[in-house]
Each structure stands twice: as structure tokens, then as C-alpha cells.
């Protein structure tokens, strides 16, 4: 899904460094998504937007475009309280993280 070697080249980092950062990113994002799940159950839209904002930033930095874009869309969906869209995006982010985890 993601070519970490290409990402490492583009960023001018070593492949091991990229893997380490992405691993930490996935760990933190997994924690965030658990919190988001809980927030979604309580319809805490503002909090969802704030929490996913962090995933968006770190994924963007590491050129994980799909994850960053999904996070941005979720942030926007949460801001307009779009329940259906939010639920779908949470699931999409979860599976993206799972795929990313398998790549490491």
C-alpha cells in the first residue's frame, strides 16, 4: 500500500528511521481511534475533530497521504455532525492503520 522506501527517499531519511516513526505513528493513531470510537458513541463531535487532527498532521508529515486525507475528511465530517460519514471514515482509518501495521 505504502512504499516506505520511496517515502524515506523523498524525506531524505533512512528506511529504518521511517519505519520507527511510522510504527510510533500507528501506535498513537490506534490509541486516538479508540478514543474517537468512544467519542462517537457520545456524539462528541468537536472532540473527534480535535483528536483526528493529530493523526492528520503526523500522517501528512510522513507522506501517508491516504491516511492523512481520510483523517481530514473525518475532521470535516465531525464538524458538520455527519454520523454516517463519520462512522464509515472511522472504519476506513482503522483498516488503513491495520494495513500499515502489517507492512512494518
Amino acid at each position: 500500500m505504502y512504499d516506505l522506501e520511496v517515502i524515506a527517499k523523498q524525506l531524505g531519511f533512512g528506511l529504518d528511521d521511517v519505519k520507527t516513526i511510522v510504527k510510533v505513528l500507528v501506535e498513537e493513531a490506534n490509541i486516538s481511534i479508540l478514543k474517537i470510537d468512544d467519542m462517537f458513541n457520545h456524539q462528541a463531535w468537536e472532540q473527534i475533530a480535535t483528536e483526528v487532527h493529530s493523526i492528520k498532521g503526523s500522517a501528512g508529515n510522513m507522506q501517508l497521504t491516504a491516511l492523512s486525507e481520510l483523517s481530514e475528511t473525518l475532521e470535516q465530517a465531525a464538524q458538520i455532525h455527519d454520523t454516517q460519514q463519520v462512522e464509515m471514515l472511522i472504519n476506513n482509518i482503522k483498516s488503513t492503520l491495520q494495513q500499515l501495521q502489517q507492512q512494518l
Binding site: 524525506l11 487532527h53 498532521g57
Partner: protein, 565 residues
């Protein structure tokens, strides 16, 4: 493992038996010719059986167990022959022996031996004629002996097969057990490694979790201290702050060590100016003066200006060794820090005339949670992790931290690292490299660990040193106690937002008439009006995530001196 039987071996075995039987028969024939005494015949007859069996056992190198088994059969045979001799019933044992032979062999070989025996006797009778004077009873005796011999030899072969099968079975069972045990051991090892990693990760997370509120405590103490006019309360705040800083240091050591254990610590090589090493030593001059210790830095002339390596880790190792040397050296003592560069290796040595380390503790001094003795911890404090971290960092960078010490006289810690020399003559200067190498110290206010690592790597790659504040409060506190060339401030952070932290820093700068440290907003918010919002809050500039490396360098160059200029 064990000898396999095959058709060739079986043929050899049968051939051997035929030869031995022929010899035995010839001897029996001779005995029959010269002896007519019945008892003598019995003894000779039995002796032949024993001789033949012994020869067979000797030639075939039959193991002791079979020798014993053969002996039992021989004794049984002997009793049979003797009893039959006395009672004239010798022939009646003959059919059971044949049956037993067939039972044990279970194959055509029983028939073959019967045929051989019959043929031999018939041949003897025909050749010998009436001179041989063999009665039917004698023929039966001879036949019985032949079958008895065949039984002994073949019984060994059968048992050998059975035993080999058993050995094979036992062997495969053993192999299976060994495999199972190996698998169990491997599972246990994986489990132990996983447990160790989980422990380290837990420790790292806990340290992180503890450090965050501690930074909040430090931050709020700083704020309270600023507003407090009462001298007594100011002193209290200072005590709390001092204790809190010690705690942060201990937590930092634990965090560094757990990162090492969970393999989350890595070497980031980047070109650095060796002046940074000298600057690090200089930082300790004030502390040495305070303790009335002579700190002497000896930097040899051959040290290149630029080297490629992990200056963060080198600096941290140096900090730790210097801090220890000053801590354990008494008033009026001396600490000599020697830095040299020879054969592509940077050597650093730290010698003090402090308390020294007992000889028996030298081997364990680099192990975690180890100090020279319990009293050291009580008297000087510390987590006992500093040297373990230094040793691990030096090892990661390709060196080995070593120690020489005389108890009561002092210690010398030294190491050397293989570092590549970076030549930066103006002719070789590459425009892009020149533009991407800055010199300065940055405060990164960022709560997200992945972003901390990302930015840290980026800073190291362009030659900047940095410190991380995990939240707004920590940023306020750290910027008050240290000097930075620029502060990169994330917007969303726990305890205090980036905007609020900026306002606090600006307020302090204004009140204490301090030099302004540029603050750059770092946020994933890229909405219209965001930039204006940050600038209105007093921030100097703004950069959005995802961070573009070139844009970041361009922006930093506005505030940090380019070292090539």
C-alpha cells in the same frame, strides 16, 4: 546412529553361518569316527554348539544383551540335550525347537535352515555310508543341533531388527520430544522477549505519562514563582522546582533507558561541528567553579571541524560523564576532559580525582541501576542509569565505553567512535547542502510522539540541535530556563494550547525585558485566516503540516544563522 540391515548384510550373514556350520559338521564327523562313548558325544556335541555360538558372537560382535540372551538359550539347549541323553527322549525336543525357530523367524528362513540341515545329514549319510554308523536318533540329534544353532544366530538377527525398530521408534519419539521442547523453549523465548518489550514499552509510556504532568507542575511553579513576592514562598517554590527537576531528570533517564530496551532509540548520523563538543564542555565550567573544581578541557589540534555522527548522543554521553565527574570529585579536585581525533576515530576521555570505584564494582558499573555502592546513591543521588545509557549509546555508535579507576584516587572513563570526516571547503560546497545546514538550538513544542521523532530527525539532518516540550506549559517553562534560537509551537497540546503558551512567553519577555525568541506556529490547520490568527497571537511565523522539508529550512533560515554564510 545404528547399523542398518540390508540385503547384502543378510547374505553375508547367511554365508557366514553356512561356513561355520560346515566346520562344525566336519568336527562332529571326526568326533563320531573316533568316539563311541555316549556321554563323551553329549559333551562334545554340546561343546560344538557352544563353540559355534561363541564364534558367531565373536565374529558378529553381538552386543552384551544378545550374548546374555544367547547364553540363556545355550543353557536351555544344554539342559535339553543332557536330559534327553539320560532319558533317551532327546528327539522329543526336536519338534518344539523347529516350532520355536519358525515362530521366531516367522519367515521362509526357518524352512531354509530345515532344508540345509536335512540336506547336510542326508549328504553325510550318503558320503559316510555304513562306516559312519549314524542311527536315526543321531540324525535327529544332529538336526536338532543344527536347528538350535540356526535358532541362536537367527534369533539375534530377528531381535536386532526388533531392537533397531524399537531404537528407531524411540529415536523418533525422542526427536519428537526434542522438537516439542525446542518449540516450547522458542515459545517461552518469544514470550519473554515480548514481555520484556511490553515492559519497556509500558515503562516508556509510563515515563511519558509521568513526565507530562511533571512538566505541568514545573510550568505552573514557574508561573506562580513569577508572581510571588513573598521571599519565604519563593524559597519554597525553588525547593519544589529543584525536586521536580531532579524527578524529571530521573524520569528522562528511565525513558531513555526504556527506549533503548524497546529498541526505539536509534542513531541519527548527520554532519556536525566539533565546536559543539567544546561548547558542551564549556557548559559545565560554571558548575565546576561553583564546586571549586578545576575543569580542564584538552582538545587536540587534529580534530576536524566537521564530522558525521549523532551529536545528540555524543553530547548526552559527554553531559553524563562530565556531570558524574563533577558530582563525585570533591572540592579543590580536578576534572580533565581530553578530546582527540586519530585514524578516523574521535576519542573522548574524562579523568577525575574523585572518590573512585572499588575494583569489584568495575565490572558491573555499566549495568543498569548500578552504582559503586548503596551509600553513593544516598550521598550523591541519581538513578544509576546514566552510565548504562552512555555505554549503550557509545556501543550504538560503534565504540565501547571503558573505565579505569583506583578507589579513593579517581576514575577515568574513555571511548572512541568511528566518525567520518566531512570536508567542507568552499570549492566542494554544494548549494543544496549549504542551504540545508544550519547551526542553532530549537525548542519543539509538540505532544505527538511521531511528530517529535519526525521533526527531530529533520532538525538533526540539517544540523540543528533541539529539545522537546511535550505540552504548552513545558514550552513556557523550558523557554524560561534555556536559550533557543527559535521555538516551533504546535497549536493543539495538552495542559496549554500553543497560542496560550506563546502569549505567556511573550508576556515574560516583555516583563523581564528579555531578548525575543522567534516563535513559529506548527499546525495541521490550513484554513483561511489561521495564519492571521497565529500572527495576531504574537507568533512570528507559521508553517502547516504536512511539513515540507524545503519550506521548513527556508523558514528556519529566516531566524537561524546559516553556518556557511
Amino acid at each position: 546412529m545404528f547399523r542398518k540391515t540390508n540385503p547384502i548384510n543378510m547374505k553375508t550373514h547367511v554365508l557366514k553361518q553356512i561356513i561355520l556350520l560346515t566346520i562344525t559338521i566336519v568336527i562332529i564327523m571326526i568326533v563320531f569316527r573316533f568316539s563311541s562313548h555316549q556321554y563323551l558325544q553329549v559333551f562334545i556335541d554340546t561343546a560344538m554348539v557352544i563353540i559355534f555360538s561363541s564364534m558367531y558372537i565373536w565374529i558378529e560382535k553381538v552386543p552384551a544383551a544378545y550374548t546374555t540372551a544367547s547364553r540363556i538359550i545355550l543353557i536351555v539347549g544344554l539342559i535339553t540335550i543332557i536330559s534327553a541323553q539320560f532319558y533317551g527322549q532327546r528327539q522329543i525336543w526336536f519338534p518344539p525347537w523347529i516350532l520355536l525357530a519358525f515362530f521366531l523367524r516367522g519367515r521362509k528362513e526357518g524352512w531354509i535352515w530345515l532344508l540345509i540341515a536335512e540336506s547336510t545329514i542326508t549328504m553325510l549319510y550318503l558320503i559316510g555310508g555304513p562306516e559312519v554308523n549314524l542311527s536315526f536318533q543321531d540324525l535327529f540329534i544332529l538336526l536338532s543341533d543344527l536347528l538350535f544353532i540356526a535358532l541362536i544366530t537367527n534369533w539375534y538377527e530377528i531381535n536386532k531388527e526388533t531392537i533397531l525398530t524399537r531404537i528407531k521408534k524411540t529415536n523418533s519419539q525422542l526427536e519428537e520430544r526434542v522438537n516439542t521442547r525446542t518449540q516450547e523453549v522458542e515459545e517461552a523465548r518469544v514470550e519473554a522477549v515480548s514481555a520484556l518489550r511490553t515492559r519497556s514499552e509500558f515503562l516508556a509510556n509510563m515515563s511519558h505519562e509521568i513526565r507530562t504532568p511533571l512538566n505541568a507542575i514545573n510550568g505552573f511553579i514557574s508561573l506562580l514563582k513569577e508572581d510571588e513576592k513573598d521571599q519565604q514562598k519563593q524559597e519554597y517554590f525553588e525547593i519544589i522546582q529543584h525536586a521536580s527537576h531532579s524527578l524529571v531528570q530521573t524520569i528522562n533517564d528511565i525513558l531513555d533507558y526504556s527506549k533503548l530496551e524497546s529498541k526505539k532509540s536509534f542513531v541519527v548520523n548527520a554532519p556536525f561541528d566539533t565546536e559543539e563538543i567544546k561548547d558542551t564542555i564549556k557548559l559545565f565550567e560554571a558548575k565546576a567553579r561553583e564546586k571549586e573544581i578545576i575543569l580542564h578541557a584538552q582538545c587536540s589540534d587534529g580534530i576536524p571541524q566537521y564530522l558525521n555522527g549523532d551529536i545528540q548522543k555524543i553530547r548526552q554521553t559527554l553531559n553524563n560523564l562530565l556531570s558524574n565527574a563533577l558530582k563525585f570529585t570533591p572540592k579543590s579536585g580536578s576534572v580533565i576532559c581530553d578530546v582527540s581525533f586519530k585514524e578516523e576515530r574521535l576519542s573522548i576521555s574524562m579523568q577525575d580525582n574523585g572518590v573512585g570505584i572499588p575494583k569489584e564494582k568495575l565490572d558491573t558499573i555499566f549495568e543498569p541501576f548500578t552504582q559503586a555502592d548503596g551509600s553513593t546513591q544516598r550521598e550523591y543521588g541519581g538513578s544509576g542509569l546514566g552510565l548504562a545509557i552512555c555505554s549503550a549509546y557509545v556501543k550504538m555508535m560503534g565504540g565501547q565505553l571503558q573505565v579505569e579507576s583506583v578507589y579513593g584516587e579517581g576514575s577515568r572513563f574513555y571511548f572512541s567512535l568511528p566518525l567520518e570526516v566531512i570536508k567542507k571547503s568552499p570549492e566542494q560546497k554544494d548549494e543544496s547542502n549549504a542551504s540545508s545546514h544550519l547551526k542553532g538550538h530549537v525548542l519543539l513544542a509538540e505532544d505527538n510522539r511521531a511528530n517529535q521523532l519526525f521533526m527531530g530527525l529533520l532538525f538533526s539532518n540539517i544540523g540543528l540541535s533541539y529539545e522537546v516540550a511535550p505540552d504548552g506549559l513545558a514550552a513556557v517553562e523550558m523557554s524560561g530556563t534555556n536559550t533557543y534560537d527559535v521555538i516551533l509551537m504546535d497549536e493543539h497540546m495538552p495542559h496549554m494550547s500553543g497560542i496560550k503558551a506563546t502569549q505567556k512567553i511573550l508576556k515574560r519577555e516583555k516583563e523581564q525585558q528579555l531578548k525575543h525568541t522567534p516563535i513559529i506556529a506548527l499546525t495541521a490547520n490550513a484554513l483561511t485566516g489561521d495564519k492571521e490568527r497565529f500572527l495576531a497571537a504574537g507568533m512570528d511565523d507559521y508553517i502547516s503540516k504536512p511539513v515540507n522539508v524545503e519550506d521548513m529550512i527556508k523558514l528556519l533560515k529566516k531566524y537561524i544563522k546559516d553556518e556557511h554564510v
